[in-house]
Amino acid sequence: MHDPHVILKVISKFLVPFIALFAFYVQFHGDFGPGGGFQAGVILAAAVILYALIFGLDAAKKAFPPSWIRIGMSLGVLLYGGTGVLTWILGGDFLSYGVLAHDPTHGQHYGIIAVELGVLCSVTTVMIAIFYAFGSRQPEVNEDNW
């Protein structure tokens, strides 16, 4: 049986790395231009969701198993809160990043990067989780019908 979705598969295979790289670009250039953790997280999740839409949910679940998603969700919030607790321990207020380095501006930099990473982690995994939750429920559409 010839696969009727050759074009979709080839093109999405080509595009997924680019989408993921663009997500990381948005993440790490949040200091210089528009962007940041939220947008990057959504774009990164979109890469995985595109893969899941084309190659099937089971393939996506094999690559990024639900247990990872569950861990990632809490890890993101933990990273954000942990940065705050770290500033506490180092003698500052909650989430005042100035104490993270000798130079307060550098400390602010590090703090912002850590916090944005936490947001990225949390948003990506929550988006994938919601898609998994809804997608696993759907009555699978017949192979020829999409």
Binding site: P4, V6, I11, K13, F14, P17, A20, H29, A63
Partner: protein, 162 residues
């Protein structure tokens, strides 16, 4: 391994093109994210010839320039059909034979057909493409053979003789 290194190169080029900042911090982040992307591609098991077709990039660029001229030519025909004084269309479904069974060549050919206005590839089968054509004079299967040859050459694949 060859695919991974090629993908790394392509991603590095893309990163530099997008970023334009040559600060140590950003370059480090770029390095980390490229590694993450390659790992993710590997993890999704889509790291093969189709996701990394960068060896033929010069040929592909040449092909797209040729295709762009074809698109312009076909577009003028279609625009005439749309807003001409006695506009008339004659839609038809035709089967265009395909002499290859390699995915990327099929994709290239079918996408070229769709890109050319007036023809849309509707269904890709094993040895032919079902094409919906807007105008009768565009719907001769033998006219597509040149495009087929060129698109296959653009990804370095030889056609089977038929």
């Amino acid at each position: 391994m060859r695919h991974a290194s090629l993908l790394t190169l392509a991603m590095a080029a893309t990163w530099l093109m997008l970023s334009g900042y040559f600060i140590g911090m950003i370059l480090t982040f770029g390095f980390i994210s490229i590694i993450l992307v390659v790992w993710m591609t590997k993890r999704l098991s889509i790291l093969d010839n189709e996701s990394v077709p960068y060896l033929n990039i010069l040929k592909t660029c040449k092909y797209y320039i040729w295709l762009f001229i074809e698109i312009v030519k076909a577009n003028i025909q279609v625009v005439k059909a749309v807003i001409g004084p006695n506009a008339e269309i004659s839609p038809s479904l035709i089967k265009i034979p395909m002499h290859t069974d390699i995915d990327i060549a099929q994709t290239m050919f079918a996408n070229s057909i769709t890109l050319t206005p007036g023809t849309v590839s509707v269904d890709v089968q094993k040895d032919h493409i079902l094409v919906h054509a807007l105008l009768k004079e565009m719907s001769k299967p033998e006219d597509f053979y040149e495009m087929h040859c060129r698109s296959a050459k653009a990804v370095s694949i030889d056609l089977k003789d038929n």
